[in-house]
């Protein structure tokens, strides 16, 4: 099974509407979870992380993510989408491996915000 899954290849939303980009994980224990964003021809940029504590994590550019342990999910959200939010979004989890952790990324979700 994949350690981290992003079930949607693409999400379309109108500007001003709330957006959600979904992520589920399947690692044991307490996961370290991350969201990154990628703009064309650039490397990934860190948005936010969950390690422990509050289930609602606030990050850069008005994004937030909700950690749900019972559903093993870490969905990315924003109350009001901007056209400039259009980009590729990646969820990542640190997977235990041989006493350490290996970062594992989802396949990415393309977010398209329509004017």
């Amino acid at each position: 099974a994949q350690s981290v899954a992003q079930p949607e290849d693409q999400v379309n939303v109108a500007e001003g509407n709330p957006l959600t980009v979904k992520c589920t994980y399947s690692v044991s224990g307490n996961p370290y979870l991350f969201w990154y964003v990628q703009y064309p021809n650039r490397g990934l940029q860190f948005l936010l992380k969950y390690i422990t504590g509050d289930n609602l994590v606030k990050g850069s550019y008005g994004f937030e993510a909700e950690f749900n342990k019972s559903q093993t999910s870490f969905h990315l959200k924003k109350p009001s989408a901007l056209v400039s939010d259009s980009a590729l979004y990646f969820c990542a989890v640190n997977k235990p491996s041989g006493g350490s952790y290996i970062p594992t990324f989802g396949r990415g979700t393309s977010l398209i915000v329509h004017p």
């Binding site: 992003q6 650039r42 990934l44 390690i51 990646f90 350490s100 990324f105």
Partner: protein, 112 residues
């Protein structure tokens, strides 16, 4: 932005030739990573390093080798390039394994 430089940014080469990609950091971070990005696969870890001369394999390490002789440099080598290694390669760094990674802008490698 974190100080990460990848070189070259673009390269076209032929099957069977050796290729070396370089990642240079100015942040003194302990961890360095090499990924490849392909449509439909997201980012896949090739190799990573947790210190000078300390490296380990990722999920797609076959056909690749790495070296880290200095904290600031992490080299990825394709000993004999194949067309299946055509991809965009990203280097990343982090202070610890559970801290966020900072990425370079990638190397677009085409193997004909």
């Amino acid at each position: 932005d974190a100080g990460i430089t990848q070189s070259p940014r673009h390269k076209v080469t032929e099957t069977g030739t050796p290729v070396t990609l370089r990642c240079h950091q100015t942040e003194n971070h302990r961890y360095m990573y090499w990924y490849r990005q392909d449509p439909g696969h997201g980012l896949r870890l090739i190799h990573y390093s947790y210190g000078v001369k300390d490296t380990d394999k990722g999920e797609v390490s076959d056909g690749y080798s790495v070296s880290r002789s200095k904290t600031e440099d992490f080299l990825l080598t394709l000993e004999s390039a194949t067309s299946s290694q055509t991809s965009v390669y990203f280097c990343a760094i982090s202070q610890t394994v559970n801290q966020p990674q900072h990425f370079g802008d990638g190397t677009r490698l085409s193997i004909l």
